[in-house]
C-alpha cells in the first residue's frame, strides 16, 4: 500500500470507522465488565459476572441452534444462488435479471416478513389454497418453527448471495469450461475443476454476506419462529429489553463478534483467495486482496453483535 497523501484521502473512512464502529465496540467491551443497572443501563463497578453468566447451558443451546440454523440457511442460500448467478452471467438479459434480484429491496424488510406470515399463517394464503383444493381439512401450522425461520432467512438473504456470485461468474472466461471439456472433463467435472476454483472468492463473499447477518438474525426468528428457534440475536434483545441486563447482552455480543471474526479470518486464510474481486488475478495479488475483505467483514460484524436484523 502507498503512503503519503493517500492518508489524507482516508480521513473520512477513518472518522466513520471511529465514530460508528470503534467507539460502539469500545462501549460494548466496557459495559460487559460492569454491573447491570436496575432498569437497564450499568453501574460503574468492575465485575466478571456477565462472562460467568454466559457459561450456562441455555446460552450453549441457543448458540448451537443459531449455528445450525445459520449454517443450514446459508448453505441452502448458496446452493440456490450459484445456479441463479451462473444463469444471470450467461444470460443476454442481465440488466432485467439484476433488476428482478434487486426489486425486493424496494419493500421494507419487515413488511416482507409479514407477507410471509400472510402466506404461511394458519388462515394464510397457502392453507386457504390447500383447503380450497380439498387437499387438507384443517389448516397446517407452517409458521413458528425452525423451518419457517430458515425459509424466510433464505428468502431474505438470497440477493446478498446472488449479487457477488453473479459479479464473479460474469468475469469468468467461459471458454475455460470448453477447454476442460475438450481435455476430457464431463460437464459436471468442468464446473467442479475449473469454474469453482476460479469463482472461489465470490463464493466466499456470498457465504460471508449471508452467514454473518443470519448469525445475528433477530426479527425473523422473533416473527416467524417458535421457542425452539430462539437465536442469539433474540437472546441479546431479551437481555437488553426484558431482563435489562446490559452487561450480559454486551458480553454475548462480544463473544459472537469474536467467534465470527476468528472464523472469517481462518476461512480467508484457508482459501487464500481474493474475496471481493473477481477470480482472474495473478497469485501476487493475493496478499493485498484479503485486506478489503477484512474491512468488509469487520464493518458487517457489529450488525451481527447488535442483532439489528
Amino acid at each position: 500500500m502507498k503512503r503519503g497523501p493517500g492518508g489524507l484521502y482516508a480521513t473520512p473512512a477513518i472518522v466513520w470507522l471511529t465514530v460508528f464502529f470503534i467507539a460502539p465496540l469500545f462501549i460494548i467491551v466496557l459495559y460487559s465488565f460492569l454491573r447491570p443497572g436496575l432498569r437497564g443501563g450499568v453501574e460503574w463497578s468492575l465485575t466478571f459476572d456477565a462472562y460467568r453468566a454466559i457459561a450456562n447451558p441455555t446460552f450453549a443451546k441457543v448458540t448451537l441452534n443459531t449455528i445450525v440454523v445459520a449454517l443450514g440457511a446459508t448453505l441452502v442460500t448458496l446452493l440456490i444462488a450459484l445456479p441463479c448467478g451462473y444463469y444471470m452471467a450467461r444470460s443476454k438479459n442481465q440488466t432485467l435479471l439484476l433488476l428482478l434480484v434487486i426489486i425486493p429491496f424496494w419493500t421494507n424488510f419487515l413488511i416482507r416478513i409479514y407477507a410471509w406470515i400472510a402466506i404461511l399463517g394458519n388462515e394464510g394464503f397457502l392453507n386457504d389454497m390447500l383447503q380450497a383444493l380439498g387437499l387438507t381439512n384443517d389448516s397446517i401450522r407452517f409458521l413458528y418453527n425452525r423451518w419457517a425461520v430458515a425459509l424466510v432467512l433464505v428468502y431474505t438473504y438470497l440477493p446478498y448471495a446472488i449479487l457477488p456470485l453473479f459479479s464473479t461468474i460474469d468475469k469468468f472466461d467461459f471458454s475455460l469450461l470448453e477447454a476442460a471439456r475438450d481435455l476430457g472433463a464431463s460437464k459436471f467435472g468442468a464446473i467442479r475443476r475449473v469454474l469453482m476454483p476460479n469463482i472461489k472468492g465470490g463464493v466466499l463473499t456470498a457465504f460471508l454476506f449471508t452467514f454473518i447477518p443470519i448469525f445475528g438474525a433477530y426479527a425473523v426468528p422473533l416473527l416467524v419462529g417458535g421457542t425452539e428457534s430462539y437465536m442469539l440475536g433474540n437472546l441479546i434483545a431479551d437481555e437488553l429489553t426484558k431482563s435489562r441486563n446490559w452487561p450480559l447482552a454486551s458480553a454475548i455480543s462480544l463473544v459472537i463478534t469474536l467467534v465470527t471474526t476468528i472464523g472469517v479470518m481462518l476461512l480467508v486464510r484457508a482459501n487464500g483467495a481474493n474475496v471481493l474481486g473477481g477470480g482472474k488475478e495473478a497469485s501476487e495479488a493475493k496478499a493485498e486482496q484479503s485486506a478489503p475483505l477484512l474491512n468488509a467483514s469487520l464493518v458487517a460484524l457489529p450488525h451481527s453483535g447488535g442483532g439489528a436484523s
Partner: protein
Amino acid sequence: MIGSDVVIENVSKSFGDFAALNDVSIGIKKGEFFSLLGPSGCGKTTLLRIIAGFEQPESGTVLLDGKDVLPLPPDGRKANTVFQNYALFPHLTVFENVAFSLRLKKQPEAAVRERVNEYLRLVELQTHGSKKPAQLSGGQKQRVAIARALINEPSVLLLDEPLSALDAKLRQHMLIELDAIHDKIGITFIYVTHDQQEALSVSDRIAVMNAGKVLQVGTPQEIYEAPATDFVAKFIGETNLYEGSILSVNGELVTIESAEFGSVQVTDTDPPPSGTRVSWTVRPEKIRIGPDKPSTSRNALNLIQGRVDEPIYSGFQTKFYVKTAGGATLKVIKQHADWSDEGPEIAWKDEVWLSFSAEDAFLVEVKG
C-alpha cells in the same frame, strides 16, 4: 501417435437467420497439416468448433476415421483444441495445466510427472512448470496450450488462429516450431488462420473459405498459382485480375479477347467453349519488365506495351504499376538486379515492354 482422416460432408450451420456455414465439404488426410484460410467472420472457428464438438450443425456429417462423431460430446472425441485465446486455467500452474487431462484419467502420479515433463520439454518449457499462466509471455502461453492439448494424444489437433496474439517476429518463429512439432508427432493438424502467408508457408493443403463457403481446396502452389475464383486470386497474395471473353480454345491454351489488352493467351485444364465470359489472372512476379521488346521465338508469350505509372521500391524488390495502351494498369514485381542483370534502370514514365507466358496466366472463373 497416429493421425486420423477427417471428412466433413455437406455441413451447414446458422445462427438465427445468419448462415455461418453453407454446405461445406472437405476431406482431410491422415497426418496432414491442413489450413482453413479465410477473412474474419467467414466461419472458420465455427467449423473448428463443430469438429471439436462445441457446436452442432443443422445438417451434414463429420467423420473421424470413417466414424460419425457428431453424436459424441467434446470429451468423447479424439480431437483436441488449441484455443484462440489459449484458455489456460488461471488457477493452475503450467505443470498442472498440462497434467489436467492425465489427472482426469486418474493416472498414477509418477506417470503423470514423467509424461508432463516430457511434453514440457517438447515445447521447451521444462523450467517453467511451477509458474502460473499470468506470469508467462504470449509465446510461452501458446506453447503451454499446445502441450496441454498434445499430452492427451489426440489424433487431430485443432488450432484456432494460435499465432494471432503474438507479434510478427515471434509469429514467424512459432510457426516454424509448430511445423517442427507436426513433423515430429505426425498427427493431423487443422489450422485456422486469416493470414495467407502463414497458411502458404506451413500447410500441406489449404481450404480457402469466404462467407461460409469453401471456395477452393488445394496445395499452397495450386491455390496461389491457379486460384479457382476471383476471391481466392485476390485474397491470396497480389495479383492482376481481368475479364474478357474466350476467342478460341486450343487444348489447354485459351485465347481471350479483352478490351484492355487485345488478345491474351492463358491456360486452363478444362476450358469452357468460345464466347464464354471469364476472368483471368497473372501474378505480378510472373511478368517480365524491360525497356526493349524481348526477342524470343517462344510460343504462347504475351507481349504488352506500356508506360511506368509508379515504381514502388521496397528493399529486395520493386513493384511497378504499368499503364497499358488499352487503359489497364498491371502490377509487376521485379526482384532486384544482381551482377548478371544488364540494362538500364527502369524509372517513372519509361516506356516498357511486359511479357508473360501463357503457362503463368490462368482462367479463374466463368462469368454468368
